[in-house]
Amino acid sequence: MTPDQTPGALAPKESRLVPRLLIGAALALTAVFIVVPMIYIFHRALAEGWRLYAANILQPDTLHAVWLTAVVAVIVVPVNIAFGIAAAWLIARFSFPGRKALLVLIEIPFSISPIIAGICYLLLYGRQGLLGPWLIAHDIKILFALPGIVLVTMFVTSPFVMREVLPLMQAQGSEQEQAALTLGASGWQVFRRVTLPNIRWALLYGAVLCGARAIGEFGGVTVVSGNIRGQTNTLPLQIELLFHDLNVTGAFAAASTLTLIALVVLVLKVRLEGTRG
């Protein structure tokens, strides 16, 4: 990104009217569609004062939803990091038949509706699903419980880390790693001392995106969680529940916490891009 684009260099005789109009239109549309909604969230969350805001957040069901959401993210993100590094290493460093197909397969969850993912899981693990009878016989509960929520969140977030790490690995090439190997380092040492430091910012950014998405996932979790109040409700589902209970202020209070997380993610993104660029 080069911030020093000189606007005047385009066409010296051009009037300043067109750029001003375009910038004005871009600012106005962004204000209407992005900025005002963000302000509105906090306006509504705090509409009835801080006391009610705190009470809404500290309500047991909402607190449990926060807890469950955090647990899901804490499980999903490390697994996704491991998968992302492995897949990026595989695709960037080796050539093998089916490499392109594998890349397409890894990216597919981004193009598929989370609802479809949820339905797939239901048809696999549900009572009438492929593995349903076996699961019932062995008394294993996947759907309408934590494992189902975690699995469907993994499906939805699976490409995040790989997508950030792969372009960097490809751009950096493998000369440093090969040099380290020639000098007698073991594979694990090469990974820890050479690869990991090289990809750390991309990895961190991918993990942040994955975490944000895991915390906010709604569609897929709606299908597999069973929406059991105070048990399998993640924070986004709790928002819908409060909304249907006509407790709109409560819903906005819960939403404001997720909005704060989203804003932190954005700040991190800007900072990380600064570090990388």
Partner: protein, 285 residues
Amino acid sequence: MTTLPLPAWGVRPKRVLPGFGLTMGVTLAFLGIVVLLPTVALVLKGAEIGPARFWAIATAPRTFAALKLTLLAATMATIFNALYGLLMAWVLVRYDFPGRRLLDALVDIPFALPTAVAGLTLSALFSANGWYGAVLEPMGLPVVFTIWGVAIAMSFTSIPFVIRTVQPVLEDLDPQYEQAARTLGAGPFTCFVRVVLPAILPALVVGTTLSLARCLGEFGAIVFIAGNLPMKTEIASLLAVIRLEEYDYNGAAVIALVLLLIALALLAVSGLLQALATRHRGRAP
């Protein structure tokens, strides 16, 4: 995995690096358990239903109406996003003004914000006593519980796609070509259509397809604002969820498969257009 590299020989340079077996194993195991196995369950369900019943379910009035609404609203949202995205990418790359970096950062909000939060906020903003609804409804332009609400929710959640795919290409495009075109007497509009647009077209196509795919699959933001009236403002993925709640697994599976096929077709079309555009550009001087 018998192809683990033997260090001493180094038969093929590509395999000198370690970890082929390990990373292949981890990748395939993860994809198999998390992505493939569940997808196979859906496809098998589709096969079990059979083509005749599949067709009957997919074209039943309520399903058909839901699919039609989803496609129509997604198209509306994507057209808006393509235009808004072009404008934003152009403004962010070509002009310098106070607040440009902030504007650049704001663009990512729709991706960072959970869709349920977006849906809650938009539905409240556009409802009769919200900031926007209070202005629009007296003018006879209701948004909540209409297709416009569906389209707005879809649009919001996929705003960044076009911007973020067009922006880097526009950054790489040398303004000299435009300058040359202008010197040769082309007006600003001709210059944009004949010089800039062909260069950014592949990126625009990719961004638009991604945006359309996302709109078709969007759920969280829409269920809050649409009112979900059967035959009117009920989107396809919501109908699938309703079928599940009715224990009509066949109905849910059919809708899911139709949406999956549309998504895969979009991916294929996008890949094809991209390949065509790159080849076309490669042939040009």
